[in-house]
Symmetry: C2
Subunit: 216 residues, 2 copies
């Protein structure tokens, strides 16, 4: 079924939001932890966290200024730090609930019974329940002129990773901790691994690898 | 296990790449289809496609200038158009193979036996095997100063979607077509839905929804 731009523009708003948010494929589920200078914590689920580079280690996420994470953005501007916490099936519904529009002085941690954890004097709170926690310093905020969204880039300061997740070549087996993927605006999924694959080279057939990245 | 920045910087390059690429959680798997003015097609897998907005419909992806998709970037600059094609379990290994460093005059379509499909006079080729195909016009290329990566933003011109995927509220049930998710650099996964969830509101418990977005 071919849909041209006119058909997309004519769709009811909610229908279009569901469709366009489904197009990119599966998305990561992460909680952004922030605080302000008064120590008022904020927590917000995002599905737009993206890897930007390993050396230096840089990650980013997209924020719509008028949507819920506005408090998060204010806090990031105030303290220059934020945390990214992977969501797993143990607390996926609590993570989804952080998207509700709570007043600014309400902590989503308390409302959702997720636990704020402070680590190694890092300024932003982490989610204790998360098995993969990342502490970042704000690097740059890029304004996307086309629609007023913002890309928040951070450089990684520290990690707190459950040791069971880490494999011997550095790969994190996030499937083993039931990390969830999101599709569309509101669908949550756990995964089943097809395989790891060897590095692709011309004139060479790719092969499946073990979970530790070794030939089978 | 806490890892500070010094420990990350001291890791062997490949180990660090595996680890840092695992941090964001599950990623989408998409093939970027491009062509040059001579009609030489190019196809490249990316795991960084992100939703930027539904109205106007905008998507983006991250590209490392020195990595394989350099030909894709040249083509996008030349023709101002590209396609995004969701990868499903029917052709995940062929999709992975497009990451090999083929010479510029070699088409990854031919090398991987994926079929280039031209639709509605759109300038860039689509992947016939893909059930969710998106045609975009280049909107902006944003240079990320911190590490020389580029964010390619495109505005959606047209979609070609398998009708079985589309649900009545616009949501695409990409799990039903075995769309794959990626973790790390080389691990591929299919999914199992936990549920769709209702819109989160303060002082209201979220509830699970049917695949069509209705209360259960």
């Amino acid at each position: 079924m071919i849909l041209d731009r006119n058909k997309i523009d004519d769709m009811p708003q909610r229908y279009r939001a569901n469709l366009i948010n489904s197009l990119s494929g599966f998305k990561s589920a992460n909680l952004i932890g922030t605080t302000n200078t008064k120590g008022q914590h904020n927590l917000s689920i995002v599905s737009s966290v993206v890897h930007f580079g390993a050396n230096p280690p840089i990650m980013g996420f997209v924020m719509r200024p008028n949507s819920v994470p506005r408090d998060s953005l204010d806090n990031i501007l105030e303290t220059k730090h934020f945390s990214i916490n992977q969501v797993s099936a143990d607390f996926w519904q609590q993570a989804h609930q952080t998207a509700a529009r709570y007043p600014k002085d309400i902590s989503e941690f308390e409302q959702t019974e997720l636990t704020a954890e402070l680590l190694s004097n890092f300024p932003a709170p982490f989610v204790a329940q998360s098995m993969v926690k990342i502490g970042l310093t704000l690097l740059e905020i890029i304004d996307i002129k086309a629609n007023g969204t913002k890309l928040i880039l951070g450089e990684i300061d520290m990690l707190d990773i459950d040791t069971t997740v880490l494999r011997e070549d550095g790969y994190l087996d996030i499937e083993s901790i039931d990390a969830v993927a999101i599709s569309g605006l509101d669908s949550y999924h756990v995964t089943h691994r097809l395989s790891r694959l060897s590095y692709a080279k011309p004139d060479q057939t790719i092969s499946q690898l073990t979970i530790d990245g070794k030939p089978i």
